[in-house]
């Protein structure tokens, strides 16, 4: 027979390897017969393939060699059988072990996935490591304010002067402005996500172009690039390329859609729907060094040294701005990937994450995993007494050290594997539930989470085996007789105590941290802002109404309106700054308002008076209301309020102005920053914001009535409004999320730690039941017995408090120091945490030992 007609050798070998020789002959025969049959009909390769296929069809239990089962296999079966028996006999402990491990692993996985989302910000762009954002420290009178904005002239200068800069783009965000964009007047929306950028933006940041040309975008001043979901919103299913969008509140400017790009991912510090080219017909921004309202991004040449680039930034700035050399702003750059977590400058594009919170989450994730592993270890150790008999019998029947080790290892593998499987399902279910939280569907099966899970599985199983092996080694060293006679080798107890202390210390730390985070949050929510923002509605696009006086008077006629006023700028949002003061200028935040604004927001005037419409000079020049901090910064005394004072100088002439009143300090931004100087000016001019204080709580009806008036006067633009207290709450979103997650995790960790203690208490009580019974018979009171049994545990919890409190104090002191307005860490918090843990410990041990000492111990003794 030549080689082409011979049956595949390898397949034959495989068959002979696994197949029972009794069956092999007929099977081989059948296979060969078919093979020859197929050779006649089909090419040889196909016949061979079929041979393989048929051969594999015989891989069924009945064909296997019966003698193949080795002793090792039998022993593994035996270990499995005994493990399952042991675990189901002690099912409360097993169930608890598996449960707490599952919770621990799930928390860890969940936190890991959340954090890897936080860490993944902006890293999905191609060559993200080459992209940097240039920022500066704003220097004023020796004060440095880190600030993300840069002048528009910076990017062209970087491109022309520094060879390592490959591409550079400016970005001009809407700065709180909303664009009214539509295909026609019936199909229009207010849009916040409008960025004006240079053409290089789409080259630096690799957004995928879904529709339209991929090159040379954003060159034509009238073009616009929109995101996929925006395209669907305005144009439905039809291709928007070449279609027109009108910006109704910007002189009916027409924009032609040139391309559609993918939606901006949520893990990017950008958040836009429209990209418009930076183009101003009336001015050349390329040489403007004085404006600080652009962001500058650069992409370095491959292989360029970013530290060398860093060093050239400041000289470059000074080259173009030689006059500034004394008090020059300090320019530097940040890696794109660092912006979300590490950068917390003034005027970020959006709220960034916080490295501190990431660290806290990391610690908490590891803590919970640790607590659940410790539980497992502790319960295994505590259960050892039970197993001395079993082990002695095994040894008497000739079990070797290796057999004991295997027995315990298999048990550990079963417990950890079960927990891993359960936690995989739990995590997956939680992730499904939390889709909104993440903003995208996430599965444990996605990379890199799957890898992480596999690594974690290896670690947990290995730890489990290590935990299981510890008693195995202890027992294997122990003589046979000793283990049958003496009851409990007491050496393990110290380790157990130590582990309990670790667990409870962690719990104490977490309780205290959660309490403090919550106190800080409550402090934010309840603190006196210095003004009243309840039921205050802010309309952002008041400029749409030509006659604002009519608007105000119409609104004031509504019965539910307490007060309505106008302003340029909003507290908690945008305000302006300028330099004022003599002889030394200070940076003053300001907003232009109508006189009623003070009343609408219930801002308290402590000295002087409010603006008055009948006094003509109030609406002109440097006549202002300032806050207390502002007055102090201007170096003015309360006596000078209302008097004409020098506020500025220009060339040789002094500029006079007047502070007509002082208002109580108020928080015009997040509590993380201090109160800064703030001034109000009174102007009779069109303003951006309408602020309305409502008196009833039927808010949605009220807004509807306001809108009716609005629609009559606005000429087509819808009213854009929000409640002031909501916008302030958003400033503390990060802290609120932290507090919520911490609360859940703390409850979990306390639950795990204390149920772990309960498990150990149970085992200890069972161990000491003889002693308890004898004491009881000899006349001990229940109370004495309870005290005897719970004393040890209460002492442990007490020690844990002694360890945990200083650590918690240190960590949380660091955390609160981030906030300019923060709570004091009071002893009360720590007392609450420690007494609650001690009371819980007393309750758990007390109830259990009370039950134990109240059972019919005499019966128990008699049975013995």
């Amino acid at each position: 027979m030549d080689t082409t007609t011979r049956v595949p050798r390898l397949a034959q070998k495989v068959l002979r390897w696994y197949c029972n020789p009794l069956l092999a002959e007929e099977i081989e025969g059948d296979l060969e017969e078919y093979y020859l049959l197929h050779l006649e009909k089909y090419p040889a390769w196909r016949a061979k393939l079929t041979y393989w296929y048929y051969m594999l069809g015989f891989v069924r239990p009945y064909t296997f060699k019966k003698t193949q089962i080795s002793n090792q296999w039998i022993m593994i079966n035996n270990y499995l059988k005994f493990s399952v028996r042991y675990l189901s006999k002690h099912w409360p402990t097993s169930l608890f072990n598996i449960g707490s491990l599952s919770i621990g692993i799930t928390c860890f996985l969940f936190i890991f996935i959340y954090l890897s989302g936080e860490r993944s910000f902006d890293q999905h762009f191609e060559d993200a490591h080459l992209v940097r954002r240039v920022v500066k420290d704003f220097v004023f009178e020796g004060d440095r304010t880190p600030d993300a904005t840069t002048p528009p002239a910076l990017a062209p200068a970087l491109l022309s002067d520094l060879p390592e800069v490959d591409l550079a783009t400016r970005l001009f965000p809407p700065w709180g402005r909303k664009y009214l964009i539509g295909t026609n007047r019936d199909h229009q929306y207010f849009e916040e996500g409008v960025y004006r950028v240079d053409p290089a933006f789409l080259e630096i940041f690799s957004f995928t172009v879904v529709d339209g040309p991929k090159k040379a975008l954003l060159v034509n001043p009238h073009e616009v690039v929109i995101t996929q979901s925006t395209a669907a919103k305005y144009f439905g299913d039809t291709s928007p390329i070449g279609k027109e969008l009108t910006v109704f509140n910007d002189g009916n400017r027409k924009l032609i859609v040139s391309a559609v790009i993918e939606d901006v991912p949520l893990n990017s510090h950008f958040n836009f729907d429209f990209l418009i080219p930076l183009h101003f017909a009336d001015r050349n921004i390329d040489e403007m060094w004085g404006w600080y309202n652009y962001y500058t991004y650069v992409k370095l040449q491959r292989g360029a040294d970013h530290e060398a680039f860093e060093e050239k930034l400041q000289p470059l700035y000074l080259k173009y701005n030689p006059r500034d050399s004394v008090d020059a702003n300090i320019f530097y750059s940040q890696a794109l990937a660092d912006i979300h977590l590490s950068s917390n400058l003034k005027w970020e594009l959006g709220a960034n994450g916080n490295m501190n919170n990431v660290r806290i989450f990391e610690a908490v994730g590891i803590f919970i995993l640790l607590i659940s592993l410790i539980n497992y270890l502790n319960l295994t150790l505590a259960g050892l007494t039970k197993r001395t008999k079993e082990v002695s019998v095994r040894k008497s029947f000739g079990a070797q050290k290796a057999n004991l080790i295997w027995q315990f290892a298999v048990e550990a593998i079963i417990v950890t594997t079960c927990s891993l499987i359960i936690s995989a399902f739990l995590t997956e279910a939680t992730l499904r539930q939390m889709e909104v939280f993440f903003g995208r569907p996430i599965s444990l099966l996605d990379q890199p989470y799957l890898d992480t899970f596999l690594w974690l599985s290896i670690i947990v199983i290995a730890t489990g085996i290590a935990i299981g092996l510890y008693p195995a080694f202890r027992f294997s060293r122990m003589g046979d007789l000793r283990s049958t006679n003496t009851r409990n080798p007491q050496q393990g107890f110290d380790l157990k105590k130590g582990l309990l202390i670790v667990q409870f210390s962690i719990s104490v730390i977490m309780i205290i941290s959660t309490l403090i985070v919550y106190q800080q949050l409550v402090y934010f929510q309840e603190a006196d802002m210095g003004f009243d923002m309840d039921q205050v509605l802010v309309v952002e696009n008041a400029r749409e109404v030509a006659n604002q006086e009519v608007l105000i008077s119409r609104i004031n006629q509504l019965p539910f309106v307490e007060s309505a006023s106008l302003s340029n700028g909003v507290l908690g949002g945008i305000n302006w700054t300028f330099t004022v003061g003599y002889p030394q200028g200070i940076l003053m935040n300001y907003a232009a308002i109508s006189p009623e604004y003070v009343e609408t927001l219930d801002i308290k005037i402590t000295t002087g008076r409010n603006f008055d419409r009948s006094i003509e000079t109030d609406g002109q020049g440097m006549t202002m209301l300032v806050n207390e901090v502002g007055l102090e910064a201007l170096n003015l005394s309360y006596e000078q309020v209302g008097q004409s004072v020098v506020l500025d100088s220009e060339e040789d002439s002094l500029i006079y102005g007047k502070v007509i009143g002082v208002v109580k300090d108020f928080h015009f931004t997040s509590f993380k920053s201090e109160i800064k100087p703030y001034a109000f000016f009174y102007r009779e001019e069109p303003m951006t914001n309408l602020t309305v204080k409502l008196s009833t709580s039927n808010l949605s009806d009220n807004i509807r009535e306001l809108e009716m008036i609005w629609n009559e006067l606005s000429g087509g633009s819808p009213m854009e409004s929000y409640f002031l207290d909501q916008s302030f709450q958003q400033l503390h979103e990060n802290e609120e999320r932290l507090a919520q997650v911490l609360l859940y995790l703390t409850v979990l960790s306390i639950f795990i730690a204390f149920t772990g203690m309960l498990g150990i208490v149970n085992l200890v009580i069972k161990d000491r039941l003889n002693e308890i019974a004898v004491r009881k018979v000899l006349g001990a009171h229940t109370g004495q017995l309870v005290g005897l049994l719970s004393k040890n545990f209460v002492i442990l919890v007490f020690i844990s408090n002694v360890i945990g409190i200083p650590i918690a104090y240190y960590v949380m002191d660091l955390w609160v120091s981030d906030f300019s307005y923060r709570i004091e860490l009071t002893p009360l918090t720590f007392i609450i945490a420690s007494t609650s843990t001690i009371i819980l410990a007393i309750a758990i041990t007390g109830i259990r030992s009370f039950q134990a000492s109240n059972t019919h111990l005499t019966n128990y003794l008699r049975e013995k």
Partner: protein, 117 residues
């Protein structure tokens, strides 16, 4: 008792073995099943089922003398046992009995659905 009840595939196998007598072995049985019922079954599955039927006592088998077509390997030839015959007959009786009890009227109703032939 479970052992005396025939599965549908088992019944098919027994019938095929009976009809192929005296030459019923793996390949022939498989080919006959494919030819007569139009369904395919893996060779391994057929061997497994034959083994099971032999265990139950419905079939017995013997190795014949070697033939050159199979590389000199012997075939295992299957034949029906009395128990196998009884099991087949039992099945057939049960069916006949049930067929006879079907009232004429029930076919009429089925006709509407178009599956009656």
């Amino acid at each position: 008792m479970k052992g005396t009840n025939l599965g549908e595939f088992e019944e098919l196998l027994l019938l095929v073995v009976a009809s192929l007598y005296p030459d019923a072995y793996g390949v022939a049985i498989r080919e006959e099943i494919i030819a007569s019922s139009g369904r395919t079954a893996a060779l391994g599955a057929i061997h497994a089922a034959l083994g099971r039927l032999e265990e139950k006592g419905f079939l017995k088998s013997d190795l014949d003398s070697a033939t050159p077509t199979r590389g000199g390997r012997r075939k295992r030839l299957f034949t029906l046992t009395t128990a196998g015959k009884q099991a087949l007959e039992h099945n057939r009786q049960l069916r006949n009995h049930l067929w006879d009890r079907i009232p004429e009227i029930s076919w009429k109703n089925i006709q509407v659905s178009g599956y009656y032939y």
